[in-house]
């Protein structure tokens, strides 16, 4: 099959930020009717390439051609008008407006300045039906799930006569069913000849949907490959520039030692959040929690951290009954919680790495006893090198770090407190394979050192690789507690999640 002429061609793209060469001589092309994955670790230059393409940044070198014509966009709006639309990870729509309005606002059908609501609704329905979606277009967007909202964003994007659709991590907060629905829509758009640029950290999804991929590393082009001709192991090797040995090393974890129980939850529950559950976490044990989004994983973590009040049941720490009324009392008992939402609930982007790391320790000491600067530097340096935070500059603002490194800063903040139980809620979501492996290795080391870890992740392989014991959640109920032995596989976990019983 002769390849059609590319609709978009970027050649020799270079982009310089103060002190960093973000892109250096990158070539990229996009064919009509293909899904093209852009791969690379965090900081490899994926976002920069997208931002250069959509006119958020200027380019310092190279040129962009759209349909054979040289273009340079001054703003995302200009790119949109030329036919390049972007849908970001966070849904950038107004949830208070109706579905139809969200598709059309800014270019509503009008007559004499009067918005024609009927026509707008009818056209919205047409556009959505092209994407195989049947929605009540006059209902507010907030009445639909995040996945549907994302698809409405796509509908808005393609209605602007899009030739190129950029999907920047659209799947990171969707569950499996929703991802399948999104992929159906993507295939439909592909048939219509739209070129789709897809960014995702989930390798399985890349292999399911994409036809071709371009790999970047450290701002340079590694190469362009057909997805069908590149194995996952080769792909990861090319992305991180080294073999997967690091990941493999974790296989074959030593079984948890028989240790004293650290935290015992007995019929702990909270109405509307999680059904009463019983769970014991031993010292040095990694307990994984598996289940779909919204199955109650985070709710368990919040109860154990005192962020929510338990309605029923009892909690024992070290055999002593306690009631955790606030996170403060949990911290006092050496429990730490890295929340799922690191941007909103954890890190303070405008403070430096050092300030962010020192925050929890300072809070535990109280504001009247500031930690001496020398002690701060000592601690922060230790954790920056232990966790391999890059750039290794404690005075860097956290907002300038990549997702994986932000996650490590958050981890460092809690590790400094030397917790006995560390609760990690989706610590590896949205970060690249290299950083993921580092965090996983760290969890293993910590537990070998006697720290108990409650590990929550949507990725079953990860849960399986790290945990000694896996709790399975379904519909806000802890349905099973499985020992991680030879017989436990991701298939069996999936089945348990699906059926709600131990198979």
């Amino acid at each position: 099959m002769a390849a059609p002429a590319p609709i978009l061609r970027m050649s020799g793209i270079g982009k310089q930020f103060p002190g960093v060469k973000a892109l250096d001589g990158v070539d990229f092309r996009l064919l009509p009717g293909e899904v093209h994955a852009l791969m690379g670790e965090n900081g490899a230059g994926k976002s920069t390439l997208i931002k250069v393409l959509t006119g958020v940044y200027d380019i310092d070198a190279g040129e962009i051609e759209l349909e054979g014509r040289r273009v340079a966009f001054s703003s995302p709006l200009a790119a949109q008008q030329a036919g390049i639309s972007t849908v970001y990870q966070e849904v950038n729509l107004c949830a208070n407006l109706s579905v139809a309005e969200n598709i059309f606002i800014g270019r509503e059908p009008r007559r004499l300045g009067r918005i024609q609501w009927k026509k707008m609704r009818r056209r919205a329905e047409e556009i959505l039906s092209r994407l195989d979606l049947d929605l009540d277009v006059s209902a507010p967007l907030s009445s639909y799930s995040l996945a549907i909202q994302q698809m409405v964003a796509i509908a808005r994007a393609v209605d602007i006569d899009a030739k190129v659709l950029i999907l920047d991590e659209p799947t990171s907060s969707l569950d499996a069913g929703e991802v399948a629905q999104l992929f159906r829509v993507m295939r439909r758009l592909k048939e219509q000849g739209i070129a789709i640029l897809f960014v995702s950290h989930f390798l399985d999804q890349i292999y399911e949907i994409s036809d071709r991929m371009t790999i970047l590393r450290n701002g340079t082009l590694v190469g362009e490959y057909l997805t069908s001709e590149l194995s996952q192991v080769e792909l990861v090797g090319k992305m991180i520039g080294r073999e997967l040995a690091d990941l493999e090393k974790l296989e074959g974890r030593p079984p948890a030692r028989e240790a004293a129980p650290l935290v015992e939850a007995e019929l702990l529950g909270r109405t509307g959040a999680i059904e009463p559950f019983t769970l014991t976490i031993h010292e040095g044990e990694v307990v994984g929690l598996a289940g779909l989004l919204g199955s109650g994983r985070t709710e368990i973590a919040r109860l154990l951290f005192g962020a929510d009040h338990a309605g029923t049941g009892a909690l024992k720490i070290d055999g002593q009954a306690v009631s955790l009324r606030t996170p403060r009392s949990a911290v006092a008992r050496k429990i730490a919680f890295c929340s799922e939402n690191r941007r909103a609930e954890g890190l303070i982007p405008d403070l430096t790495v050092r300030e962010n790391i020192i925050l929890a320790l300072q809070a535990a000491r109280g504001w009247t006893r500031p930690i001496p600067r020398r002690k701060q530097d000592e601690l922060v340096d230790k954790y920056i090198s232990a966790l391999n935070i890059r750039p290794a500059n404690p005075e860097q603002l956290v907002r300038n770090l990549s997702g994986g490194n932000q996650q490590k800063v958050l981890l460092a903040r809690w590790l400094i407190l030397e917790p006995r139980l560390l609760i990690l809620d989706e610590p590896t979501r949205g970060i690249d394979v290299g950083a993921k492996a580092e965090i996983q290795r760290l969890v293993a080391e910590l537990s070998d050192g006697g720290m108990a870890v409650l590990f929550i992740s949507a990725e079953l392989e990860e849960v399986l690789r790290l945990s000694h014991k896996v709790g399975v959640l379904r519909d806000r109920r802890l349905v099973a507690e499985l020992d991680n032995d030879e017989s436990l596989t991701t298939d069996r976990l999936t089945e348990t999640i699906a059926s709600g019983a131990i198979s």
């Binding site: 949830a95 407006l97 800014g106 918005i115 507010p140 907030s142």
Partner: protein
């Protein structure tokens, strides 16, 4: 139990977005019926029309406030701008200016004040609360540079408007101010529902960040709502001048709070993005009817009005909280 299932049925048949407005409408009807049962001569059409007559200026000011609150902002300057408008009108009329020239000038001054505050809020990214607080002091202070005393208005056009009765038949009448206020309400409702500006107001209130990324003119929208509010305050000031036939630096002190209360009782979310103009009209009516009931009661001091408004505000803020919590 039956009331609970009744409420559930209601929620299934009526879209959730209309519930706050319907609650306010229900409250208004209940107050009217209760008043009719308790007091003789209460349940007449003229009672409601009197509420309109006595609150036409508040209604106009509240319309402007609705625009601002829908974008998630607040305008504390409206009461002072009302006061300033009455002062400017009264003093210029005393100097022999023509009535319509005065009206036009006052409206322009109000709109320009609003425009200025909107521009400062947007371009310097300062909290609307602070900027309009400054505007409030500024406008109030300007009143006293004109005069510290009350200035009577004796202009023939103004007195004619003040004394005209528009008969509606059946012994019922309204003042021209009521008609002006209703025109403002209808025009504003049209703008909010049927024009791009109106939809951009809702979008900006829903999520300013998203509105920007969707390519909407957020800057223009935000500045426009404060201009609208300034214009409405000035118009409200003119209506207040018709109503009181005087200009006084202390008039309409605290009216911004009445306007905000009316908007909130009308079901508009203070966080922006949700609410209807009909709700604001009902909010003003509820506030007015409370005053009427208290004057009918006779023995209660007028401070009871404030107490009831306070209680109502608590109730409605809690209601909004419940509705938004359920939506999540």
């Amino acid at each position: 139990m039956t009331s609970v299932t009744g409420l559930l049925d209601l929620r299934r048949t009526v879209p959730q977005k209309y519930i706050p407005v319907m609650v306010t409408a229900g409250l208004f009807i209940a107050m009217f019926v209760a008043g009719g049962i308790r007091y003789e001569g209460f349940a007449t059409g003229q009672i409601i029309l009197n509420v309109f007559i006595d609150n036409a200026f508040l209604l106009v000011v509240a319309v402007g406030m609705t625009f601002v609150i829908l974008t998630g902002g607040i305008d504390l300057s409206v009461g002072s701008v009302v006061g300033l408008s009455t002062m400017i009108s009264a003093s210029l009329l005393k100097d022999g200016w023509p009535a319509f020239g005065v009206m036009a000038l006052v409206l322009v001054i109000g709109a320009v004040l609003g425009l200025g505050m909107g521009a400062i809020i947007h371009y310097f990214e300062i909290q609307p609360f602070i900027v309009t607080l400054a505007g409030m002091f500024l406008a109030r202070g300007l009143c006293y540079t004109i005069s510290t005393d009350s200035i009577p208005i004796e202009n023939s056009t103004f007195t004619a408007i003040a004394q005209t009765r528009v008969d509606l038949g059946g012994d019922m009448w309204v003042s021209p101010s009521v008609l002006i206020a209703l025109v403002v309400v209808l025009a504003a409702a049209y703008v909010l529902h049927y024009t791009r500006l109106g939809r951009n107001v809702y979008a900006t209130g829903g999520s300013e960040q998203s509105a920007l990324l969707m390519g909407l003119p957020v800057a223009r929208t935000k500045i426009a709502v404060y201009t609208v509010s300034g214009f409405c305050s000035a118009l409200g000031g003119l209506l207040f001048a018709f109503y009181s036939l005087s200009g006084y630096g202390l008039s309409a002190v605290g009216m911004e709070l009445d306007a905000i209360a009316a908007v909130v009782i009308g079901g508009t979310l203070l966080t922006g993005g949700s609410g209807y103009l009909l709700g604001t009209v009902l909010g003003v009516l509820v506030l007015g009817l409370i005053q009427t009931i208290i004057s009918f009661e006779g023995t209660l001091s007028s401070w009871w009005t404030k107490i009831f408004i306070g209680l109502l505000l608590f109730a409605f803020i809690l209601l909004q909280r419940l509705i938004t919590a359920r939506r999540r």
